[in-house]
Symmetry: C2
Amino acid sequence: MSDAPPPVTPPDRILMGPGPSDISPRVLSAMAAPTVGHLDPYFLRIMDETQTMLRQVFRTDNALTMSVSGTGSAGMEACVVNLVEPGDRVVVCVNGVFGGRMSDVATRCGAEVTTIERPFGEVFTPEEIEDVVKRVSPKAVGIVHAETSTGALQPLEDVSRIVHDAGALLLTDCVTSLGGCPVEIDDWQIDAAYSGTQKCLSCPPGLAPVTFSPRAVAAIEQRTHKVASWYLDITMVRNYWSDQSRAYHHTAPINMNYGLHEALRIVLEEGLEARHARHRQNHLALRAGLEAMGVEFAVAAAHRLPMLNAVRIPERVDDKAVRSQLLTDYGIEIGGGLGPLAGKTWRIGLMGEASTRRNVILFLTALEACLKSQGHISPAGAGVAAANEAYPTI
Amino acid sequence: MSDAPPPVTPPDRILMGPGPSDISPRVLSAMAAPTVGHLDPYFLRIMDETQTMLRQVFRTDNALTMSVSGTGSAGMEACVVNLVEPGDRVVVCVNGVFGGRMSDVATRCGAEVTTIERPFGEVFTPEEIEDVVKRVSPKAVGIVHAETSTGALQPLEDVSRIVHDAGALLLTDCVTSLGGCPVEIDDWQIDAAYSGTQKCLSCPPGLAPVTFSPRAVAAIEQRTHKVASWYLDITMVRNYWSDQSRAYHHTAPINMNYGLHEALRIVLEEGLEARHARHRQNHLALRAGLEAMGVEFAVAAAHRLPMLNAVRIPERVDDKAVRSQLLTDYGIEIGGGLGPLAGKTWRIGLMGEASTRRNVILFLTALEACLKSQGHISPAGAGVAAANEAYPTI
């Protein structure tokens, strides 16, 4: 077969976009372990261990905690499609692309969706949530914890109190936050949450960790309509993941689950507090460096994500030319803006394995050169110097 | 973290069940290649090459040919949910678990589903299809090419003619057939087909190759309702896979796609004809061996799958004891029966990398010992001798 493509030999990248993030060789190695059957006693043990570790990372005792066999968006759809029945009233808070996506998913489920909106990059006040919840009396409120499209972090504790006082369920998008900043499922009384493997957990994309509170499970068990998606029907999927029946539902992505297992081991070895502190430290150093180079953040200081830094593209600087030069000359991937922010912002990820001092320094050096070639001049080395100063001296 | 589970170290298995099948070290190695971004020019090239190779394996020129980011059942749901709108009349042919699943998926989409049934292990005659198609005038007819639950192969050419004469679309489940026996999407005029990676393609589970004919694409483009599943909405997913816009939809499972790319390279290196012949040869040898041991097939000779051999569990033999002994003493996984065949049949896979003379011989030897310990005695070595005789002498 002379016209066959060559084998897979990816270029050397540093993944500093909105995900996927850099992957530990330990995780890649686990992905390459020999495949076993999806009902093999060994794989059932891996599933059990993964559930236990996911509960630790989500900070929850929820029995129904597992990985959905799809990427983060499948996790979103799994949460929505199981909680929501046709005709249910649902509030979705939209301040970015992923809030908009959640509204679309809920509408496709036949929900009566009410959206409230904030400009991209801003977050919601508890009062705004209270107003709409009182007005609509929804079954569920959906909100994004870490908006990957804008770089904004939504505080959830007051929102949770308001939603529960109104007797509604709280559904949160934790795709980008989990493993990079505090996500307290039980303390914050979140009823359903989904994440992705390819952000701060630093596992390749392909699985979506999800967790459902006992209140969410009760709502699912009281459904009067079948779940619209067979593939994502948690009432069947959970029998495969549970201790008792292990009833076959679909053939789980075995090697992806190997990878997640190792990624979770790494997260717990580091410890959640230390991991969050590392993300925050590198974010602060990057921020100091960017500001010294005259690059401004697109999100107010109080609501910036530590793992995803959204900055305004400086005036007269060509978005794509800079991203292309970063990729070509330095092997560094960063993300462009999404939705109305396309061409206006960059999204610089410092997620999981990629959140290192080495990457902060290298990126600032590379960005200085790329901006210079676009006519945006900053004092030589000012970014790196400011970043270095932001690190504590030992 | 003293209570952390140990790292992933799977036991050594020979995967001779209904899938996953054994995986080439080349594919496992590709899965462990460094992750790049889902919009990286390198990954877009991998997607293009994968599409080209999938078209060769599906034997089609269909532009809309790609992998869905989920397992085979997600491929089924992707085909059904895109082709079918609420209120559409759909015929589903049910002669096993996966036909039943397709009917369930179509019902959840709001289709008016008419099923026709044959006992598990049998196939449909063209006349049966003709009767129901004339009676119902459906928009689409769904049928399973290779029923993984029963081991029966459904001929499709006459069915296709009948379905198209009635102006309907033909949707086929090729999960187990693709890469192991002829699947002729264009010659047979199949409008939509889905497969899985973990059967005769010998890639770990996690992706579902799908293909849609221009007629299917036209039907999708004429929809009046949004597709019920956001994650599987082909009208959006195809923009990411197409040459033009590459619009972000979801973050593709990068490393799974590396694995599929290498698995397809291996399939095309061997060549489809040679690969089908190998599957048939090993099936015939296994069959000769089983028959010499007094083990009967559960499917009539004319309709047996070459890659999945469903046999009746001999009388007074304990199903689980034998499967457990095969796994423990020999590291061999075979499958039990599904649905009404649970406890009555075994499903012995010879799929992809696992379809080898070595595995046929080893399995027959192991089965002889396991059956002997259950009181089912056959002449020593008779199975292996018969199998060896079935291979051509060089």
